[in-house]
């Protein structure tokens, strides 16, 4: 009966404290630092793991939506990684994906509700995109690959690192798409009127999703030519 009551209340069971007898690792150990920095280059979620490409196409027509999307994904991914990592030993393996999805969608609904209460204008602009976070495969991928098998602190760093790695690519793509597609950055006109008078026209292709593919491909090309260990030798 006593085991039953602990099982019914799995959130508070501190299983890994008893289980992990290895000496405590300092929070800023070189290994943990790599978790944070690797996703920028060697293990970038978009250009190397090729995850989350669909949302990278959808939200990069403007720099502003890309920025807000990046921040939201970082917050959701860090929190979800941390929570799932805390619960990892209690989650029944057969329903683990559903539990992960529940945590992600719960967090996303919270972000949406809080934005609606405190930043209504932003929430209205982003209503379509916020739902997209739930289906972002990077989050699910990191939960499966990292949070389900690691301690909370490294999982948190991994979540932040991958969120930033995703955001960097989004911002790079959005920068070029907004600049060449609309001649603006963050809504401000940057291409001077003189250029238009001389016959310069905005590139309509940059506003279509295909342009994001081209830009991501060029980013991958540049990255691999500088970092040859990423080149697939098989």
């Amino acid at each position: 009966m006593s085991t039953d009551s602990t099982l019914a209340n799995p959130v508070v069971v501190p299983v890994d404290v008893a289980k992990d007898s290895a000496p405590k690792e300092p929070f800023w150990s070189p290994k943990n630092k790599r978790l944070l920095t690797d996703p920028f280059n060697d293990d970038n979620p978009i250009t190397v793991q090729v995850l989350g490409v669909c949302s990278a196409l959808a939200v990069t027509t403007q720099l502003k939506t890309a920025l807000v999307m990046s921040v939201s994904v970082i917050v959701v991914m860090a929190c979800a990684n941390f929570l799932i990592s805390l619960l990892r030993n209690t989650i029944p393996s057969r329903i683990r994906m559903i539990v992960q999805l529940l945590v992600i969608s719960g967090l996303v609904v919270m972000v949406d509700q809080v934005l609606k209460a405190f930043a209504y204008d932003v929430a209205r602009q982003l209503s379509v995109y916020i739902g997209l976070i739930i289906t972002n495969c990077i989050i699910m991928g990191r939960l499966e690959a990292m949070a389900m098998s690691s301690k909370p602190a490294p999982s948190l760093l991994d979540g932040i690192g991958n969120g930033v790695g995703y955001g960097v690519i989004l911002i790079v793509v959005a920068f070029f798409r907004e600049l060449f597609g609309a001649g603006t950055l963050l809504g401000f006109q940057v291409v001077p009127q003189v250029f238009y008078d001389m016959g310069y026209v905005n590139n309509g292709i940059m506003l279509t999703s295909a342009a994001a593919m081209f830009i991501i491909a060029i980013v991958i090309w540049i990255q691999r030519s500088r970092n040859t260990k990423l080149v697939d030798i098989s």
């Binding site: 019914a8 027509t61 393996s93 057969r94 539990v99 719960g106 509700q113 379509v128 506003l207």
Partner: protein, 232 residues
């Protein structure tokens, strides 16, 4: 990964979904007063935006000093016991025309009068709203504000851009025979417009524009008696 028993899995699922549901319910009901205030403020801003440039800081005092609210029935008689701002058009649309309440906002500033008619319609993905401001002749459109919740960005969502809304300025509701015909938006963009009752459309936004036409004609025509009774 250790194997858990069926009953553990079931209890875990029940416990976890309940916990998430409770947290979300508490958060949603805790934040509701703030969200409702934001929605009301956004509505005031949209009403004012159809007649003037809106300054966020003075929004509420501007609204209270310049706008008077009225509610009419289909036959043009005023319903004095209802508050126009609280009329939920989305629910009204489902009622029989005779039972509906039709709000009108009257803008009065320095002797200048505008009549603002709120309309509601269906876009491709969700509801769309319009605030149509009429000059004091109750015929010429002086400004329109369109709002949408989830139309496709870059296509249907363009209806809330000034570039599209401005096309309605100066268009007339009544034709030369004095008949209420309102203003239609045409399919696609780049149409040649020489009528006072047509505006150019948007490419790739046909479904949303059908919703706009639904509001601007079918719904607006229901205001015919009301417009006549305001005039006299």
């Amino acid at each position: 990964m250790q194997q858990h028993s069926n009953s553990y899995t079931l209890r875990y699922a029940i416990f976890f979904t309940t916990a998430v549901a409770i947290v979300l319910a508490l958060l949603a009901s805790g934040l509701r007063p703030m969200q409702e205030r934001n929605i009301a403020q956004a509505k005031r801003a949209a009403i004012l935006q159809s007649v003037m440039t809106v300054d966020k800081a003075t929004l509420e005092s501007d609204y209270n000093s310049y706008i008077t609210e009225f509610v009419y029935g289909l036959d043009g008689t005023e319903k004095v016991d209802e508050a126009a701002f609280d009329v939920d058009i989305r629910k009204q649309v489902k009622l029989a025309d005779e039972e509906r309440s039709f709000p009108v906002y009257v803008y009065n500033r320095d002797g200048e009068t505008r009549y603002i008619i709120p309309l509601e319609g269906k876009g491709l993905w969700g509801p769309i709203t319009a605030f149509v401001a009429l000059d004091s002749d109750l015929n010429t459109i002086s400004g329109v504000v369109f709002e949408h919740e989830k139309e496709t960005p870059g296509l249907g969502a363009e209806i809330s851009m000034a570039m599209f809304e401005d096309r309605y300025q100066g268009k007339k509701l009544y034709n030369d025979g004095g008949e209420l015909v309102s203003v239609r938006v045409l399919k696609g963009s780049g149409n040649l417009i020489d009528s006072e009752h047509e505006v150019d459309g948007l490419t790739g936004a046909t479904m949303t524009l059908n919703g706009v036409n639904g509001m601007m004609t079918d719904e607006l025509l229901l205001y015919e008696n009301i417009l006549t009774s305001i005039k006299s």
